[in-house]
Amino acid sequence: MSVLSPVQPSNQSGNQPDQPDPTSETSQEIPVSRPATPPATKRRSGSTGRFGFLRPAYWLPLAVLLVALGMLWSVTANDSPYLLPPLAAVGEALAANPLFYLTNAWATLAVALVGLAIGFVGSFILAVLVSELPVARRAIMPIAVVLSVTPLVAIAPALVVAFGFGPEPKLIVTALICFFPILINVSTGLRSVSPAVLQVFTTLHASRLEMLWHVRIPSALPYLFTALRVVFPLSIIGAVVAELSAPGAAEGLGTVISVASSNNRLAVVYAAIFCLAIMGSLLLLIITAIEDRVLHWHESRVAAKS
């Protein structure tokens, strides 16, 4: 994934007409490693005003594809019931016990968010340190880059051995996989300030702290949100993998999946996966909405409004 490489500051590189539009559905599924939304013209041409998405041209392709995929699923499920459960069975599993899925989804979500919060605080502080101290940067960044391309979820089983079935291994895994994308993006963002701005603030004799607070951290926000759009869904993956590796754990969708698959209850497995997909999408939606508000000043968003 392109997430792991530092992003281009799009407010300096100017307009990039063929950037994908993060506000369109496609890129909500595939977080793109760019802090900015692209020129507004794209959105305008695709729809007429606010309710453009009601036009068949807008929703029909997706609807057709969904129906086709559903039919393919049903055919497969009929032919080989051990490969896929019938869709109806998945729906029934969900409808029969919604509270069961809700409590387990909440358990997974809580782990994901707490782990994410730990990873966020740690990586942000380290990013500031690394951007302020060249020595720290030279020491830490190579390691960070290597670790960011390492599938850190793989240490989940080892952590279960070390910490048992409590929340620790789950939180550690989630925090770790969120750590490096944030560290790399934010440390890049903190140093993305243009030389001219630096010169203006240097002639005002701004202290390092003032520089950080008034200039560097706001400049890093677009980079931070790029990382968050990746890391929010990633945190759920971390939590689920950790639950899968701790089969005795009491709660969580990962546990549900591992228990149900050992009992051959495919419908429950897919119902849980469905819940995970919804959760990931909701998180992505929330972070995108927050980003829209916080980065309202960003060049591309300003252009979209006026």
């Binding site: 203006v200 002639t203 003032e210 200039v215 000043w297």
Partner: protein, 291 residues
């Protein structure tokens, strides 16, 4: 830190003595400034003109304390450039507006006041510094033609409006000297002339010292009390022309014979400098060429 260090000349001027700045070393060594002497009296509007790469920005950075000279002395009203920065005596307008995109215009121009608050105390201790009340930023924005843009974001403004905001920001700290590095080079002719007029208006009221880098001859003549002509390889000052045109300088004066006389004098100096050094690879007055 003593703010009354021994000064080479009077404390009431910006003075650079024998400044040498060399970039790189060995074969790739490049003499950006060679033995540059500059004297700018308080309240003067001085322009620096010359071909691209002759060291204009380097000279400005020297005064701004953004760069140290390899040899020679740079003093800003009796103190070192660094001390001048610490006391917020220097306002900088770079070539790009360099506004903070997340702050509206008012937020941007008010920013310097929030930074380095100790400066006011330091400033009062500096000999010759004129104590002025903090300006009303809204009022200043109105004078700069930004009345409608007070609460707009930089991305919502044209290049000319952004540059106006950058100028207001620099005036906002009531600096003893305003350093401007080709601030209008990216603007179209119309915008340029109106913004020049507003700059002169604001300057007239505040009587700040201004050092203005440009590569437009008419801009230099219109704005300045004195024009320093620079030449490249090595970067040095080849002529100093006093512009004795009366002020205020109206639009009509731009067509007068005296105005053209000064333009011709400066063009001749640039021409001579260039003929001595055709290797610089650029014409003396490269219109629109950014350095």
């Amino acid at each position: 830190m003593t703010l009354t260090s021994p000064s080479v000349t009077t404390a009431d001027s910006i003075s650079i003595r024998g400044a040498v700045k060399i970039y790189g070393s060995g074969a790739s060594q490049h003499v950006a400034l060679q033995n540059v002497d500059v004297d700018i009296k308080r309240g003067q509007f001085v322009s620096i003109i010359g071909p691209s790469g002759c060291g204009k920005s380097t000279l400005l950075r020297l005064i701004a304390g953004l760069e140290d000279a390899d040899e020679g002395i740079a003093e800003v009203f009796g103190v070192t450039a660094e001390q001048a920065c610490a006391a917020k005596m220097i306002g900088l307008v770079p070539q790009a507006p360099a506004l903070l995109p997340w702050k509206d215009v008012l937020g941007n121009v008010s920013m310097p006041a929030k930074i380095n608050r100790r400066a006011d105390k330091l400033r009062r201790r500096i000999h010759g510094h004129l104590e002025r009340p903090a300006p009303d930023m809204i009022d200043l924005l109105h004078k700069a033609g930004l009345a409608d843009a007070v609460h707009k974001l930089p991305a919502q403004l044209s290049g000319g409006m952004q540059q106006r905001a950058a100028i207001v920001r620099a005036f906002g700290v009531q600096p003893d000297v305003l350093l401007m590095d080709e601030p209008f080079s990216a603007l179209d002719e119309f915008t340029r002339e109106s913004i020049q007029e507003q700059l002169l208006d604001i300057w007239d009221e505040n009587k700040t010292t201004v050092v203005f880098v440009t590569h437009s001859v008419s801009e230099a003549v219109r704005l300045s009390d004195k024009v320093l002509v620079m030449s490249a390889r090595p970067g040095r000052i080849t002529a100093s022309v006093d512009i004795t045109l009366p002020r205020p300088r109206s639009q009509a004066m731009l067509k007068s014979a005296e105005f053209h006389h000064f333009e011709d004098v400066i063009r001749d100096h640039l021409q001579t400098a260039w003929q001595e050094n055709p290797m610089t690879g650029s014409t003396p007055i490269a219109a629109g060429a950014a350095s």
